[in-house]
């Protein structure tokens, strides 16, 4: 009698655990789908605001170049939500990293669009809030990143 009850209780426990695990898995998948939709919306908006050249570059290499409205310097914005803006030289080599992002947790497309608009319309203000970071150039010795 006791053994039967124990077996039954164990079976019930395992069944509940399995059911719980299935629910967690379903929730995870749902959350991932929602995140994918949000990411896709951000990228769609970004593409709408990119110039034809920037779109082509972004399609090919997940990054695009912008020209700062104040200095005329060129920046490469890479797909990402932080430390993704590099000032580049005439040969397209990164010379300095600039880290500035819109506040709040935005998706990558939104972050990149805000960075593009900022550099193309008010470069000085964008760089004023940005933190600089060194970038590693092939052939140049690595300089440890300064903590800020």
């Amino acid at each position: 009698m006791v053994m039967e009850r124990l077996t039954s209780a164990t079976r019930y426990l395992w069944h509940s655990l399995a059911e719980g695990a299935r629910k967690v898995q379903a929730l995870r998948e749902r959350l991932r789908t929602i995140e994918d939709i949000q990411e896709a919306r951000g990228l769609t908006l970004l593409r709408e605001w990119l110039s034809v050249e920037q779109q082509a570059q972004f399609n090919a290499s997940k990054c695009f170049d912008v020209v700062g409205c104040d200095s005329g310097r060129r920046y490469r914005i890479r797909h990402g939500t932080g430390t993704n803006v590099h000032e580049i030289d005439d040969a397209g080599r990164p010379v300095m990293g600039w880290c500035f992002v819109p506040s709040g947790h935005l998706v990558a497309g939104d972050v990149m669009l805000a960075q593009k608009i900022a550099l193309e319309t008010n470069e000085r203000a964008a760089l004023a809030v940005a933190n600089r970071f060194p970038v590693q150039v092939p052939g140049r010795p690595h300089v440890p990143r300064r903590a800020y």
Binding site: G42, L106, A114, I117, E120, N122
Partner: protein
Amino acid sequence: MATQIVMDQTGDTRHYFNPDDTEALSKAEERFKLLTTVGFTAAVRDTAGEPIVIRSFDPTAEETVFFPRLVGG
């Protein structure tokens, strides 16, 4: 239909309004003021597609994008 696109954690929130509707236009202007007051930047595109930051509500803008204040990362 004109659109105000506000970047947020969901990607963005879109507010559609008829610019010929006085009441809708007024609400859109209120939204513009509210967002820019709390630090959002408003941008539109010119005829060439280049972004322009606007400081006051443009009732003729077909699409206005708002993004939150920039901070150092």
